[in-house]
Subunit: 141 residues, 2 copies
Amino acid sequence: MSQHAVRTANAAFYAAFERLDYDAMAALWARSVQVSCVHPGWDLVLGYDAVMQSWRGIFDGTSEIHFRSEDVQVTAGSAMGWVVSREILSTAVQGLPVENTLSTINTFVLEGGAWRIAHHHAAPLLAGKPRSTRKPDVVLH
Amino acid sequence: MSQHAVRTANAAFYAAFERLDYDAMAALWARSVQVSCVHPGWDLVLGYDAVMQSWRGIFDGTSEIHFRSEDVQVTAGSAMGWVVSREILSTAVQGLPVENTLSTINTFVLEGGAWRIAHHHAAPLLAGKPRSTRKPDVVLH
């Protein structure tokens, strides 16, 4: 039950993102906990106001964006949960189509009967290597 | 109370990592949920066995590693929680000291009375720009 609700909240997040709908995005984020966000390659963005400012900047700088998800893993309890997935985004940069694959986690809290997002973290895979041939022993950590 | 316990579990994770102690690391991960891990720049690693294999590869390829954390944010409920932070790691690559800053989230579940890690995600900041001058409007997402 929670699992379905968390999955639905996760879908609402991507729907707002695809619509570049700032008001919808602002309504989806939690207010009862300290929220935070890591956009691909960015430093940690902390707190509701800073997170919303980051979305405004992203939406203002984006003309279109679409997402597909792979390997979606939902973990949900009675009042908290998270969704781990691979996120394939399609967008346009200077008019040219770009596709990018990210490793993503979104966390959620139940707040006044609604599941709201508390943390979004999307990280780029290292460029230039197809996923299927990535070696597990080449990075620092 | 949960918050303190989750913070302690997070510290235990980094202690095992610094000791490059595979057995300690293996004991810290949850068995009751599907665990997953994203090492910096890696693709998503799914499932206990694959996650443990990734740690073995990392530990085998690492001679020493140390962590400092900044801006640690703990969110904890009765049976789930997460820690968001900036993770500054110091290691050596081919004998030369390297320091790297990562944006990190670790999620935890309470399992048989113990808080165990369910997901670790550490992502590199984009190279070549000091954090303080990073622009919020230059990335795809």
